[in-house]
């Protein structure tokens, strides 16, 4: 069998248990929320955030998909190319499964309690036909980003690792400086870019533009990941 598929199988088996625990928690918490609403505790409240939790979870899965699996596949003499392809395949499958479960569970939950998924809150749509591709694109982009971040860490020295850890803060600082230097023009341009990329610049917010942008982003991040992994050397942890 193609070794990339074996890597996919390994990664999926690895993710099975955490996914099970995650959804057990999600179902448990949403049932508590539902009972609270049915018993008039927090009346008028709207429940949401399942897909936000899934987005964070999928990012963590991406972050965990590199180090251990890479070492194991090295022990089995798998090439970096096959490891990369196998892992990206696995992350896409995980993103698709999670997006489907969240969409179906969200639709089901809406029949019981006032529930709003992330997309409904942002775009005002509830149709599974728009929720599913948007959620899938978001999860895919996040999972592959997580994969890339750990690879960056693996390839970096301590100084670079620190810079990567501080990058959100550095980005914020750069933004503040740019805001000062350009009299607000730079952050406005950035905001406009995000609005356009996520489909908010049209008269009616269009989630399909966000789907295209997120998938394009995922492809770019995957390409960077490939460049990072193709010459990655074994590092001893001993």
């Amino acid at each position: 069998m193609n070794k990339a598929f074996l890597v996919t199988r390994l990664q999926l088996q690895d993710a099975r248990k955490p996914i099970g625990i995650f959804y057990a928690l999600i179902i448990g918490l949403s049932l508590i929320a539902a009972f609270s609403i049915w018993h008039n505790v927090g009346e008028g409240a709207i429940i949401g955030g399942i897909d936000f939790a899934s987005a964070v979870f999928v990012l963590i899965l991406g972050l965990n998909s590199f180090s251990t699996a890479f070492r194991f596949t090295l022990a089995k003499n798998v090439s970096r190319m096959k490891f990369f392809v196998g892992t990206v395949q696995a992350l896409i499958i995980i993103a698709a499964v999670l997006a489907t479960v969240d969409t179906v569970y969200g639709t089901f939950l809406r029949t019981l309690i006032p529930y709003e998924c992330l997309q409904t809150q942002l775009y005002g749509t509830t149709s599974p036909l728009t929720v599913l591709p948007w959620t899938f694109a978001l999860y895919t982009a996040l999972a592959i980003s997580g994969f890339m971040i750990t690879m960056l860490y693996y390839r970096s020295n301590r100084l670079l690792q620190m810079l990567i850890s501080l990058s959100p803060l550095l980005f914020y600082l750069i933004l503040v400086i740019l805001n000062y230097l350009t009299d607000g023009a730079a952050p406005r341009a950035l905001k406009n870019l995000f609005s356009t990329a996520f489909g908010f610049s049209t008269s009616t917010p269009n989630p399909y533009i966000a789907v295209a942008s997120l998938l394009l982003g995922a492809v770019v991040v995957a390409a960077i990941s490939f460049l990072l992994i193709r010459r990655i050397a074994f590092r001893s942890q001993g």
């Binding site: 070794k3 074996l6 199988r9 390994l10 251990t68 699996a69 070492r71 194991f72 090295l74 022990a75 089995k76 003499n77 798998v78 090439s79 970096r80 190319m81 096959k82 193709r230 010459r231 050397a233 074994f234 001893s236 942890q237 001993g238």
Partner: protein, 287 residues
């Protein structure tokens, strides 16, 4: 057939050259000992052979095919590293199952039989294994892998004498029933000497010798006795590994023993002895 050829292979880490222009051919169906002092470049050489590292210069080929990122070629080799690369949460059995998936030739019944012989609990997690059992666990996977080229880096690390003996016995039995190319990198030269067919000695990143162990031992001998007499015997001969204890001296002569030298030794009341691989190694790598 699984001929490995290193062609002008170098590996640099910054300004340090771990390997320097290595040209080496490893013929199929032999047990090689890769011997060298700490930091000589043994592990770097093996890591390059198995695509864990990239050479700075040169190329490595297996049967004419480059090993670099070549799954077809890499799948024909198995490398038991000194470091444990297996996921700590996996049990021994789970790791065997995954080994079977990645190496379809992996002999599961044989692996399970070996766990019984070595007393390894298959339900234990990798992270729970002691240093010795971690070596046993990795060695069992290597022995059962059925790869054409099996490489062992310090295979008996942390093993007690009984387990080391058992490992060498299993290695020879496995090799006899299923001939393959075996490369063993170890510091325990005396122990492994009887197992090896050919020795590759690496020093400061360069291959200084590659020869059948039998030939190597035949082309050297030790001479010992009174220091002044040993000195007079050794004059003009290629010598190494001088050991002096009071008036007693022992020298390793790196030449084949000639009849006239044997007579001279008798005249001088000196003892001629066989050189041990370990002593020869020390002589060669100290020189």
């Amino acid at each position: 057939m699984s001929t490995i050829v290193f062609h002008g292979v170098s590996k640099a880490y910054g300004s340090t050259r771990a390997l320097d222009n290595v040209n080496l051919t490893i013929e199929p169906g032999k047990i090689y000992g890769l011997l060298g002092r700490n930091g000589a470049g043994k592990t770097t050489l093996l890591n390059l052979l198995t695509n864990r590292l990239f050479p700075t210069d040169g190329e490595i080929r297996l049967d004419g095919q480059p090993v670099l990122e070549n799954d077809a070629v890499l799948g024909r080799m198995f490398y038991m590293m000194e470091e444990n690369l297996y996921p700590p949460r996996f049990t021994v059995k789970e790791t065997f199952n995954w080994s079977k998936i990645f190496y379809p030739g992996f002999d599961m019944p044989y692996a399970l039989e070996l766990t019984k012989k070595f007393g390894l609990n298959v339900n234990k997690r990798v992270k729970e294994l002691s240093t010795g059992y971690s070596s046993i666990f990795k060695a069992i996977i290597a022995l059962a892998s059925n790869a054409e080229v099996v490489i062992y880096d310090e295979p008996v690390l942390g093993l007690d004498a009984n387990h080391r003996e058992l490992f060498y016995r299993e290695l020879i039995a496995n090799y006899s029933t299923n001939p393959k190319t075996v490369i063993i990198s170890t510091h325990l030269i005396e122990e492994v000497a009887d197992v090896l067919e050919e020795a590759i000695i690496i020093k400061e990143g360069q291959i200084i010798l590659k020869q059948p162990v039998e030939d190597l031992l035949a082309r050297a001998y030790t001479v010992s006795g009174e220091a002044s007499k040993v000195d007079s015997f050794a004059e003009g001969k290629k010598c190494a590994g001088v050991q002096t204890m009071g008036k007693f001296k022992s020298v390793t002569v790196l030449e084949e023993l000639q009849n006239k030298d044997a007579s001279l030794a008798r005249e001088l009341s000196l003892d001629i002895g066989k050189v041990e691989l370990q002593k020869l190694f020390i002589s060669l790598t100290n020189a």
